[in-house]
Symmetry: C2
Subunit: 324 residues, 2 copies
């Protein structure tokens, strides 16, 4: 990547204009059950139409295409929330989308993606990248990456913009980290608008590459054998992206890691007390608030981003029943 | 009740000003999984801080008190969502609240009510009304009724105001009915702002007093032995209130009743597809959309109000597991 210029809050504001009226402006929910000395608000991105924040970046990226790029169509590879988001955003924009999915993707997710009118191509997991590259070469498709892209970072940053608009005196913002699109977008936005607020990343201990990166100051990569141990299947990326990293190392104040039991308990708390269906990945920031207060920067008003709610129904029922 | 003058949309607008910034302005959520010929938006009142729409009416009623009334304090009798709402709204307003609860109220709900600073008085169920009246006489408390009150109706009507503000071309609004505070507030507001939209009540078949009332044109009363058969414990009121009835008979276009199995399935659909934790009472309007399309007025854009999400965790886990 030749150009590593950072995304600015003006880019985020432009993204907000592009996605207005399509992405849900999710409310900031007060949490009466939280510690009254550290009042908590939740930002429930699980309520987006595709069930996760990813729609913001996808809408911004596709909304930024030139007329020529729109004609060529877009391509993405993902088995998860990014696939849904690109397929849906492309449909709304009248742009053809091709989604490359590993053959391990559950059929329900393949069908959901097709239901938005996208062409779905199933490949062995290790051919995902090369196959996409081949299609780009052959058809001129425009690639929409999941996080390592300034348009994606700016789109996800609108979460931060909305938090500040509703709660201008926020002190601590907790955000999950995986590839770093959401976390870098939120971090740059919060720091631009309220530098005295702290942005804290939360990550599963079992997929703690970003935590290690921030602690060592070097962007490290874990193996999939490591990161696939966490049930938080949206946070198994083995390293943060190159461009997100440039934001995270500048703008982030801290990082905490959470255990699988803490994630499971946070899923239950969100259901019982906040009445939100969160996927495990979506519950990690809340787990950070609940179980790692002593590692967080001092501050009164806390926000936790609930990043998504796409969870297998059987797994969810088992979690609510007290399992992991 | 001497004065049966109807609540107006101006009363609802005044209520909106009173509750702004305290009640959550819940989003209107597009539902990609719904019938594309009858697109559906959900209004998730389950996301209010106390888990149900009731906070709107309580905030408006308490916000309307005179200085003298505020000094005297308020009283309500309820075992459920109205109790939480009055206790919380009173705390925010700096007004003392006394809540009379039947001794059948689960301890968790008693404690929640106390956690908002209310005094909770536990009485046998059949002494609830008389005991409250005694306290009003003895202490001069101001009674905040759950639905049969113009301030409550106006407060709940703000749900309708917000629906119209987001979706001005709505065609069919589905709203649950019990005592009639929410349904009459929404109905009068929708009819004032968009007379061509249809307002349809949804009620459990096993507590179908409002349906019978609307069909016969007379406000009928069922027995608690009848209404307590439904699992939708927020909708067991045995008749709609006197003042709500005057609105419902004028402004409502239709009513459908739903079975217990349909309610249970709607709870599951809301969890799996909309990522909302709904209590059975909160899912009935969605059940009406899902299972009674042929009884609804013609129209394209549908809204279903998800009225609340306070459900016992064990009951909820069982529902998600496929039970009733």
């Amino acid at each position: 990547m030749a150009d590593l210029s950072l995304v600015t809050v003006d880019d985020v504001r432009a993204a907000a204009d592009r996605i207005a009226g399509v992405a849900v402006r999710t409310p900031l929910l007060p949490s009466l059950w939280a510690d009254p000395d550290r009042p908590l608000w939740l930002k429930p991105e699980s309520l987006q139409a595709t069930g996760a924040f990813k729609i913001r970046g996808a809408l911004n990226a596709i909304g930024s295409l030139s007329a020529d790029e729109r004609r060529r169509g877009v391509i993405a590879h993902s088995s998860g929330n990014h696939a849904q988001a690109v397929a849906y955003a492309a449909k709304l924009a009248g742009v053809q989308a091709t989604i490359v999915m590993p053959d391990t993707t559950p059929e329900i997710k393949q069908n959901l993606t097709r239901s938005h009118g996208a062409e779905v191509i199933i490949v062995p997991p290790d051919e995902r990248d090369t196959y996409s590259a081949k299609l780009v070469d052959a058809h001129g498709f425009v690639s929409i990456p999941p996080y390592d892209d300034p348009r994606i970072i700016a789109g996800q940053g609108t979460v931060g913009l909305e938090i500040l608009a509703e709660l201008s005196d926020v002190d601590v913002v907790l955000v999950p980290v995986s590839g770093g699109g959401l976390s870098s977008g939120v971090a740059l936005t919060v720091k631009a608008l309220r530098p005295e607020a702290a942005v804290v990343l939360v990550e599963p201990e079992l997929a703690g590459d970003a935590a290690e990166s921030l602690r060592t100051g070097e962007r490290v990569t874990w193996t999939t054998a490591q990161t696939y141990r966490t049930m938080a299947d949206g946070l198994r990326t083995t390293s943060v992206g190159v461009l997100p990293w440039e934001h995270l190392r500048r703008y982030v104040d801290g990082v905490v890691t959470v255990t699988e039991d803490e994630i499971a308990e946070a899923v239950r708390v969100l259901a019982r007390k906040a009445r939100l269906v969160a996927e495990p990945s979506g519950a990690v920031a809340t787990a950070g608030y609940l179980f790692h207060a002593d590692e967080l920067p001092a501050g009164r008003c806390h926000v936790a981003v609930v990043s998504g709610g796409n969870v297998d129904p059987a797994q969810y029922a088992a979690l609510l029943d007290g399992g992991r």
